[in-house]
Every structure is written in C-alpha cells, then in structure tokens.
Amino acid sequence: MSGELILQLLFTGITVGCIYGLVAIGFNIIYNATGIINFAQGEFVMLGGMCAVWLHGDVGLPMFVTFPAAVLIVTGVGILLERLIIRPVKNPNVLSMIIITIGASIFIKGAVMIIGGKQTFPLPHFSSEEPIRIGGAAILPQDLWVLGITAAIVVGLGLFFERTLTGKAIRACAFNRRAASLVGINVSWMVLLSFALSAAVGAAAGVAVTPITLISYDRGTMLALKGFSAAVLGGLGNSTGAVVAGFVIGILESLSAGSPLSHYKDAVALVVLMGVLFVRPSGLFGGAEAGRLKKF
Amino acid sequence: MIDVRQEDNVLLRVEHLQKHFGGVSAVDNVSFEVRSGRIKSIIGPNGAGKTTLFNLISGVLNPDSGRIHLQGRQIERKPPHVIARRGISRTFQTMLPFTNMSVLENVMVGRHVRTSAGMLRVALRTVGARREERGIRQTARHWLDFVGLGALADRPAGSLPCGQMKLLEIARALATEPKLLLLDEPAAGLNIRETEDLGQLLFKIRDRGITQLLVEHDMSLVMDISDEVFVLDYGREVAEGSPQEIQENPDVIRIYLGQDDVSGRGKPAPCSK
C-alpha cells in the first residue's frame, strides 16, 4: 500500500472512529447510571440521521436548525424508551433487559422502515464539499465537522460529569445507587437523564456522519455492535477509553478495507470485540471492576 | 453413610491464611484446625472477616497466601465444585435457594455431586440412569425429613418463609454427604424457639458424624453447641478455646464492648420482620 493510501485510510478511519467513539460514550452513560447495556443505542444514531434528512429535505429547515431539532427529537425518543419500556420492568434481570432493548431496537428499526422506506438517504454537507488536500490524501470538511462535534461532545460531557452537580449525581448513581438515593439524589431522574443524554449524543453523531455515509433504516445494528466493541475495548464505563478505542477500531477497519481482506471489513470490529471479551474483558483502560458487570 | 471412626483426627487445617481487598486485610494470618466430628464456631464483630474466611475455605475466593488442608490434601485455589466433591459444603448467609425449582428438587441438586449419569445416559434414559434418579429422589426426601421440611417437598422453593429456607439450605448441603459442613449465620433472624430447634438439629448432624464449622453472631447458640470457639476481629485471631474460656477472655470481652446489642448482632438480620 502506498503512503498516500495509508494516510487516506487513516483519515477515513479517524472519522469513522469518532462515530464509534460517540456510540461507545452513549453506551457508557447508560451503563454507568443503570448497569444496563442499551442495545438500541445504534438506533439513536440512525434516527438522528433520518430525522435530519426529513427535517432538512422534506420540511425544508436550514441545517443549523435541523441539527439541534433532530437531536431534540431523538432525545425525546430516548426519554420515551426509558419511561415506557425500561422503567416499568418489575424484575429486571440481565437476560430480560437484553431482550427488551433488542426488541426496542428492532421495533424502532421497523417503525422507521415503514415510515421512511428502505432506501438510502443523503444529507447535504454542513459546509463546503471541497476536499482539503493534506500530504497526498483528501479530507472532507465534513470530516472536520465530525471531529469537531466529537471533540465538543467529549469536552462538554467531561465538564458536565466533573463540574456540574447533576453530572456528579449521575456518577454517584454509577458508584452506588443506594447510597446515592440515601443522600437525596433522585435516581429515577438520573436514569432518565442518562437515556436522554445517550440519545442526544447518538443523534448528534448520526446527523454529523450522514452527509458522508448516507443513512438508511438498518444502519443502527452494525453501529451498535461496533460502538459496543469500542466501549468494551476502552473499558466499559470509561469514556476517554471509549474515544481512544473508537479510533483504534475505526482505523483498523479502514486499513482492512484497503487490504486484500476488504470483504471482511465489517468483521474487524467484531473480532476485536470477541478478542477483548475473551482475553481482557476490562479492556485497555478499565480496572478490574469493568470486567465484572454491575448489578442494577 | 458417614464415616464416624475418625474422632480425633484433624479434618480441616487452615494455615496462615491471608486475603487483602485493596488496602484492607480481610483475613490476616489466620490459622486454626477443625477436628473431625466436632462443632467449631467462628465469632467476631461485623466486618471481622468471617464470611471472607468461609469464601476462602469453600473456594469462592482465592487467598493471597496461606494453605487450607482437608484431610491432609490442599484445597486452597481449587474451584468450588471440586472442594464440594472433596467433602465440604455450605449454606449462605444471604440465602441462595434455587427459586425455579421445588423444595425437593433443591435438595436433589445436592445429590448431584455423588451421582454420575451424564447427558447421554439421561437423554437415553438408561436403566442405570433411572435407577440413580430413584435413589436421588429417595435420599433427598430423607434429608428433607431430617431437617423437618418433609411436608413441603413440592412447594416452590422461593415461597418458603425465611426460617424454613434456611433449613432447606441445610438439607441441600447435607445431601452432598459432606465431611465438613460450613454454616454461614444459620441463626440470623431466628427467634429464640427457632434457634433452640436449630441447636438440636446441629446436634443431630453431629451425631451423624458430620463436622461443622459455623459463623455465628447468636452467642447463646454458639456457647450451647460449640466444642470450640475461634474469635476473629479485623481479620486477625483474637482468641481460641472452649466456650467457657472465650466467655472469660478479657480481649474478647473488650472487642464486644461498645456494641449496643449484647448478642453481638449488628447487621439487620435477613429473617427479621
């Protein structure tokens, strides 16, 4: 492979890696607050893209309105998911919660398919479509948007969880739910908030990446799987790890796309996932605690 | 059924057992012996490391260092099911019945370790497998009657009230034909009458030749039934001796001073209403 090709694949990998990292962060937020792994996480990304397509294409809103509007709508879906399906479960055990969230993800996918159809939809780039040449490879301005939005989210969430009272309250739930409720934290609200945040993060990722990858109703599943790979690789619950791991997986996947094994590209993230689960479930950055699942 | 001959032999020997969690020593250089056929109790304030000790002996946890011998054979670091096969079984302070099965089936699971029909033989329902199954059912019923739960055989295990669930755990553990029975706070939450009945049951078990090691807070039970008492505090041995000696030991009295509840019960008991 030529140096330029590698550089190009690296750039693609970083962009894709941002998305995987954001999906992973979404997993982590909900997992940290509740111990649940939300299989529907990928659908939030898909919904973000689809809503943006609808708001911009059909409704005709300009992009700077579409982005927050789409995020808001999907946040609403996340809230509905938590209230209608997650909270009412009387005896949450791991097997049921897995199947319920899978059911939710399939349901959402089915609803979108019926409403929107099976085709693939485009979305205009946020700014220019002219590629920027760096060292023989090309970056799209949209790639920079994705990178920028990812950075903003990571920094924003970091500040939120470290500096604000609400953020610290959610982290308290992660450490010890009972203790958190005993000091007056409304655990129920924190759980709701975690779903809302996760949905918002996913939606933002979805809107940002759709101009590059296009969107269709069935994109969610693979995104969820690959994002989960990043979450586990980074150490479940660890959000810096999630982003780093997202990059690792995105780059590995992209490089394999340029190799003779390109047909197996989709399997790369999953092989990484299985490898991590078998060898070191706590991932790269997780402590021993991450290897053991929380009870919820 | 049980070998009653080895009266004065050492059944279990714990040597310099050490277990840390983070910076805390849960079990700190603990050594003791349990002689065959005896009843030994481990007492100590809450957080003293008693359940950790049980978890180390039964194989749920691995020690950082130290040895555990059962009849001279090393068992530390062996997986729990191997230790059960060697002859140690236990009950659980938090109570873990198999709620998806009946009371009798719970005890029948206890027979698993002494029976052998594998997946193929049971799938084909060989004559041997069927015979073994009849034996399992019969023996399980025997142990259920032994603890006094015979009439409740077909009830769902999860529906039992607390005190009876404890008896079920004992029956289940007995069904494994243990040489050593570990009882984790068997009297927790029982009233005075129930505790007396429990004491009688433990004597019955001793008469069968089964050695018993208890972790317990209820001092009246401990002093009544124990041949020996071992006192633990902050993971370290404080004293060891007969119940009489322990009651008069100033160090033991000191560590229990400052406890509001004279019986030493600090934690909320699982069976209390």
Binding site: L95, Y264 | H81
Partner: protein
C-alpha cells in the same frame, strides 16, 4: 419425564401422522417442513437459554454452518450426503466448543454481545469468502437428502423425515430436563454460586448444552440445505438469530413445548398475510418487548393466567350480585 409429557408426545405423533392427509395444499406441507426444521433449532436453544439461562444472540451462525458445511462438502468435495451431514454437525460442534469455552466464562451482557459478534462474523464470512461459499449469490446444486438407497426427493418424505427427528430430539430434551442434568442446568440459571458450592461444575454443563444446541441447529441447517438445494447468506444473519430468540421467548423460555408452539406460530403467521413482511420488524420487536415485560413465562402460560383471572373475576361478580 412424566405421564403428561408422554401422553402429549403420543398426541403430537398422531397429529403429525395424519396432518399430511388433511393438508391438501402442498405449500402447507412445505411450511410444516420449515416448522420442523426450525423446531430442531429452538429445542436446543430453549435448553440453552431457558434452562441453563445462557444467552445466544448468534445461533443462526450454527444453522448456517450446518447448511454451508454439508452444502460445500457435497457439491465441491463430492462427499456422500450422509457423511457430509455427520461432518457438518461435527464441525459445528467443534466450533461451538472453541467459541463456547472462552465465551461461556462471560456473563450477561458480555455473553450476549460475544454471541452476537460471533453470529455476525460468521455471516460476514459466508458473504465474503466467495471462493468457498459462493458469496452473496449463494451455493446451488445441493443434492437431495438420502440415507443409503432411500432418497428424500419429495416433500412428503422430507416432512416425515424431519418430524421423526424433531420428535426424537424432543424426547431426548425432555429426558434431559427431567434428570439430574436438567436440575443442574436450572440451578446454574438460578444461583450459579450456590450450585457450584453443591459440586455442580457449571462451566462444563454450560459448554455441553451450548454444544448440544449447536448440534441441533447445524442438523437443522443441513436439512435445510438438502431441502432447498440452494442456500445464501441472508438466511443465516442477525435477523434469523433474533427470530429464533423470539420463538423461544414467546413460548416461555424454559418450556420445550412452548418453544415448539412459538416456532409454529412465528413460522406460520408471517405466511398468512403479506402485511406481516413489511411489519415484520415492528411485530417481532413488539413481541419481544411485550413478552419480556409482561409474560416472561411465555404467551401460553400468560394466556392461561389471563383466562384464569377472567374466570375468577366473573365468579366474583356473580357472588356480589347474589349476596
């Protein structure tokens, strides 16, 4: 296994025997063949998920491995069908062992994700290894199923062949459930720590039942391959894995008869109207959510409870009006 089960099996055999006489439309016989093939998978999956309490979100992979193994062995390597089928099951069993030993050390979500990942990896392999599997265009020219001189070259013969196997597997599964192994599996599901302390080697049994479920799934895959005589990767993806889980969940996780009922329903119902095809995802998603939230013991038991509640409700009303 109990007299009730024995009676139920006899009734099942009787129904299966006369069913072809009643079904005039050959399409319906074909449908029943599919029900049978899928039951082979779901019986094994019910043992794994319902009784042992483990999760497999990628079981379509074993179904596919059975199909592709026998398909490739017969078409590309010219092996006789009987041998290819046996080898296919052995290959699936071997893979289940390799994947199962590390995977079943995981619990809960991790196990679910590992099996899901495994399922997708196998699917990607079916699509990508074009020289081996034929890729997205599939593998054609798979010969008839035969045993010795006897060829299963008609739907009727296949129907009886498949259902004989299903009844056999059902009997074996029922025997396992009502034995010390069945109790061991259920105890692992209920309280793995406690059952280990009673001497049950949980890992061994989880792996055994995982391999067993892979064997029945791959057997089903082989039968499918020799029935359709053409296979392609789309039948063996995530969507089918979820269909399988839905079938087992519908019938109540730890209920072999329920698994068969769920399989029957979810195979036949989609065929009753084309609407189902469009709303497939919506309906399956909805079923999974509703079942796991409200009737985790399965729709049969749930239906029975509902009827009971309605019955006692109406009795109470009568009493009020009289008193």
């Amino acid at each position: 296994m109990g007299k009730l089960n024995g009676l139920a099996i006899l009734i099942l055999i009787a129904i299966l025997a006369i069913l072809p006489k009643l079904l005039t439309n050959p399409y319906h016989i074909s449908l029943m063949i599919f029900v049978g093939i899928y039951c082979l998978i779901t019986l094994g999956l019910s043992l794994l998920m319902g009784y042992a309490g483990q999760i497999s979100l990628g079981h379509a992979a074993f179904y596919g491995i059975g199909a592709y193994a026998t398909g490739i062995l017969t078409t590309k390597w010219g092996l006789p069908v009987e041998l290819a089928m046996v080898l296919a099951v052995l290959i699936a069993a071997g893979l289940a062992l390799i994947v199962g030993i590390p995977a079943l050390r995981l619990r809960g979500h991790y196990l679910g994700m590992a099996t899901l990942a495994f399922g997708v990896i196998v699917y990607v392999f079916f699509e990508a290894a074009v020289d081996f599997t034929g890729g997205p265009t599939g593998l054609a020219g798979i010969p008839f199923l035969k045993v010795g001189r006897f060829q299963f070259d008609s739907d009727l013969k296949f129907y009886y062949g498949v259902w004989v196997l299903v009844v056999l597997v059902l009997i074996l599964a029922l025997n396992i459930v009502h034995s010390r192994i069945g109790r061991a599996l259920r105890s692992i599901h209920s309280a793995e720590t406690a059952t280990s302390a009673m001497g049950v080697d949980a890992s061994k049994y989880k792996i055994q039942v995982f391999v067993l479920s892979a064997c029945t799934a791959s057997l089903a895959g082989g039968l499918y391959a020799h029935y359709m005589m053409y296979i392609s990767p789309t039948s063996f993806g995530f969507r089918f894995s979820i269909t399988l889980v839905t079938m087992v969940a519908m019938g109540g996780m730890s209920n072999l008869w329920g698994a068969m009922a769920g399989t029957c329903l979810l195979t036949i119902l989609p065929e009753t109207s084309s609407v189902f095809e469009d709303y497939f995802l919506l309906i399956y998603g909805g079923i999974l959510i509703v079942i796991m939230m409200f009737v985790p013991q399965g729709f049969l038991v749930g239906l029975g409870q509902l009827i009971q509640r309605l019955y006692t409700g109406s009795k109470r009303q009568k009493r009020v009006t009289v008193g």
